[in-house]
């Protein structure tokens, strides 16, 4: 039911139990602060299983991105849509090792196309005002700043991606 996406270097697939250790490592890293981290292992487990559960509740969700070469988990990208989100979001995060290699760009581009095939063709990304790296990535992806909103009591910028034809 959950489609697998492939790019030159990556395979994006449904969250799996075997991703747990790598995901714990990501959420130990302070860089995870923009994605709700740092998290203890028990909360990482909830994140992992809820990422999978969202696919069944919403019909869309996050893909976990692995290097095709080594199968190492390098991040996640896809649709994040908890009940209190104003609309489904194109969300993403990559591990420290994957940074600076265009991996996030590759993963998000694939996830955005995958989302379009599920009928979500013009998604926003919600980005913290002080997350300059993510804003730069959104710009490279062709997204543009739309407005500022409050998300869970914190300011967030809405970056709107261009319409993607499935």
């Amino acid at each position: 039911m959950i489609p697998t996406l492939t790019t030159d270097r990556l395979i994006l697939r449904a969250p799996e139990a075997s991703d747990f250790d790598a995901l714990c490592a990501y959420f130990r890293d302070p860089r995870s602060a923009f994605n709700g981290g740092p998290k203890e292992p028990v909360d990482v487990w909830t994140m992992l299983t809820s990422a999978l559960g969202q696919w069944h509740l919403r019909g869309h969700g996050l893909w976990f991105a692995h290097l095709r070469d080594t199968d190492a988990l390098v991040g996640f990208a896809g649709i994040f849509h908890p009940f209190d989100w104003p609309e489904p979001e194109l969300g993403y995060g990559v591990t420290a090792e994957a940074e600076g290699k265009g991996i996030a760009f590759e993963a998000v581009t694939a996830a955005r196309a995958g989302a379009a095939r599920l009928g979500l063709t013009r998604l926003p990304s919600f980005i913290a005002p002080d997350n300059a790296r993510s804003q730069a990535l959104a710009t490279r992806l062709g997204a543009s700043f739309e407005t500022e909103i409050t998300l869970r009591d914190k300011p967030a910028q809405v970056w709107r991606h261009p319409e993607v034809r499935p």
Partner: protein, 201 residues
Amino acid sequence: MGHRDIPVLTTKRLILRAPEPQDYPDFKATFASYRSRFMGGPLNAYETWMLYAAEIGHWEIRGFGMWMIHLAETDETVGMAGGWCPAKWPEREIAWIIWPNKAGKGYALEATDAVRRYYYDEQGWETAVSYIDPKNLDSIRLAERLGCKKDHDAPSIDGNDAVYRHPAPDALRGSQTAHGIAMEIAHYQDPLFKPKGWAID
């Protein structure tokens, strides 16, 4: 949409089904309340959503999980029951929660008895535990009605909970405990129920 692979269990009064999007408000109400204090709550709105979605992801990853308990007659939900084993859990648990305004009608007993039989008979479980806060007297009482015994040697989750071990499938099958559970459930289902041979005076 729910989940197509989660089996449906039925008892006389209950239907146990996969958690579905439309059931979320009932779950949210209970997990926002003091009622959930022995289940990791109360949770804020965001944590509640994560846990709800995680209920389904747990099924996907473990091949077992928690069902939403519906009344067969009205389809309304009254709680959840099933198997639970997140990361770092010492072993597989049978867990339950009943919405606060639905307690006292024997739904937890009827549902938990059904899920335990499912895991024993259909999934081949040889044992199961329930991790219970020592202050959660209602749940301890239910565990005891289900034939559980406190297991002092088994590891607990974090030292703040007691481990209640369910009777093994062979010890349960055809036992006095099993008959007692069946009779108690039958009494909840029909308060006028009297087994054959019941004393007249």
